[in-house]
Amino acid sequence: MTTTTLAVLVPLLPFLGSAAGLLLGRTAPGFVRPLAVLPTLAAAVLAVLVAFRQGGDEVIDAATQLTPTGSVPIDLSLYIDGFAALVAVLVGVVATCVQVYSTGYLRDDPRYPSYAALVSLFTSAMLLVVYSGDLMVLLVGWEVMGICSYFLVGHYWETPEARAASLKAFLVTKLGDVPFLIGLFALATDAGTFQITGVLGTVASGGLDHPTLIALLLLAGVAGKSAQFPLHTWLPDAMAGPTPVSALIHAATMVAAGIYFTARLLPVFAASAAAMTVLAVMAAITMVGSALAALAQDDIKRVLAYSTIGQLGYMAGALAVGDRGAAVFHLLSHAAFKALLFLAAGAVIHAAGTNSLTAMSRMSGLAKRVPDAYWTMTVALLALAAIPPFAGFFSKEAVLVAAEHTALGERDVAPAGAGWTVLVAGLLTALLTAAYALRLWLRTFRGRGAEAPDHGRQPIAMTSVLWVLAIPSLGFGLTAGYVDDWFDGHALTPTLTTAVLGTGLAAAGAAVTYAVWRTLAARAPVAVPLPHVAHPDADAGSVEAEALHLPHPAEDPADPGRALLGPLHGPAADGFHLDAVYRAAFVRPVLAAASLVRFLDREVVDTYVRAAGDSAKGLGWLVRRAQTGNVQTYLSALLAGSVVLAIAAVALANAVAGA
């Protein structure tokens, strides 16, 4: 088979698997698991094969036109460069891991068939986004991902949190998608084509008339999808979905789509210095803000969600300084360790029966209950904190190096101000990241108090996946010297200055956190254990769904995050009250407008409608009075009518004759 055929099969197989899964889910439950895992696995293998054949240098560009679409043609086209090939491999591998993990995680879930089919559909849409060479086809995948995310976040729709979170995720990303769509149209109007190659050609020849406008409109969509400030608020709430969904969608793939899209069209953004500056500021605010918020969260998944936002901020920062190689490199390594973190967190939540860090810090022996999750999570957290030689160190260094080069004027793709912004924010975030990663680890695995509940051994499907993902989290960074051939060719290897600075700051953050934790732990007495779910036989999914209802303790004196943040803790725990701002700025006006419309509809429009109905009814009532059932009355009325008619006819005839 040619490479093009293989590449077409990559998004197609999960799609067919999802369609088959949806059709056969009820009638043939035995096929659901193979239908979920095998197409995704095959797609991953094919993606590896495509990447292998593509080899990083030879761009595969094939297009076919289904039907003429007027002035701007829309083609079904593939455009596979090194970025696309590697990201597709990542998506395939992570999706396969998540599908395998889900077979264990949701093994007793009654809605597993539709869940697995939606995950497959999601994978297919993401692969379409990755491989598509046409912006309109890319948009199709982009939107399918949005709706799949809505369904999957709302998987536990019995809980009001999940329902609200799924709606919020959908609406907030749509808020970005509308400007995104307009931006795509503007871009296609300027470039005269939806083809990515055509657009890049136009940009290279300086044919773009409104680069700033287009770049800012596209940035809105990217911010929505990749959860960048100010449209990031949906991501922490989206943790109401099952943990594998969080791993796949809200850490590894969907949120990476925005970064990937920007990387693909980076010349369009680079054509406007203003857009690059906006992107840099956005990335800086996102990085620092989310790291502070992560330090204050109590829900383990929310910590990871805010950390995802922060890491996406790193990628956006790399793009803002014009180094898409570094951005996609960080995307790849982040996807590996963040998927691992989420999947391990799922195992931890299952074992602890709660998702509250405070509750976990009051039970001991959690590490012994889930040794696989303990070790792999340690690896992933080290990678997250960018400790050498884990993957996160190399990719984060690549970002910082790019920012440093831009700041010092050695690269001129982006303004130097953007470089400084990203560099300072990135270094500050490195400190905070190490702090919250260590806090998460200490609170989860170094708790004191009663023994953790026994939920039995984790299924092999769940634990094996963790080790599979631990390999890239550990070693992917060592490939930094090789993968730059697949990207733009900029060196991705760390330099001494940033490496010392970044690692030093991370070590400082970790040391301070550890010291504070030791002090607080020594001072605070062993607190009473908090409520947690304890069903020894239940599958992890149902434990998590039940744990969603558990209350989070408002105050915990032993929390190092509280001591570290000081007065900032309250706002940070609440996401800096951004939700309240949105509530005041958007939700309240919309609700007020809705109640006005409701009033107009109920009280004004309906009055006319009701009056029409009532008048007909009243007339009917009058006419019904005449229906006495007495034939003779009817006949009398008939006679009277005839007489009147006759008289009228005669009178009229006379009048006519007289005239």
């Binding site: 009075r625 229906q627 006495t628 003779q632 009398s636």
Partner: protein
């Protein structure tokens, strides 16, 4: 003979019949009144046939038809009255209000009210 006599007679007959149809309570008497009205028409037909000196005597021929149809009609009418009397226990036109509108429930006519007191009806009909 002047046309006025049969015409006036026919008019009187018709009015008597009309009064009977509109005012009598007994269904059989109503039917008989209908016959009176028919016969008033027949009288008119014959009288005008003679007065117009119609060579085809269309009026007389039509009268024969009317008589035949009236006979059939009265047969069917009497049969209906008989059945109504058997079913309802009365042939009083004023009491036969099955098609009346109920006060507020159009689906349930108040005919059932009438059926609840057949003894009253019989006494009234007898009276």
């Amino acid at each position: 003979m002047h046309l006025a006599y049969p015409a006036v007679l026919a008019a009187l007959l018709f009015c008597v019949g009309l009064y009977g149809v509109l005012a009598r309570r007994n269904a059989i008497l109503v039917l008989m009144s209908v016959e009176l009205m028919l016969n008033a028409v027949n009288l008119n037909l014959v009288a005008f046939d003679v007065w117009l000196r119609d060579t085809l005597h269309a009026g007389q021929a039509l009268t024969l038809f009317t008589i035949a149809i009236a006979a059939a009609e009265i047969g069917i009418g009497l049969a209906i009255v008989l059945m109504v009397h058997r079913n309802q226990g009365t042939s009083d036109v004023d009491r036969l209000r099955d098609t009346a509108e109920g006060p507020d429930t159009p689906e349930a006519p108040d005919a059932s009210d009438e059926r609840r007191e057949p003894t009253d009806e019989k006494t009234e009909a007898a009276a």
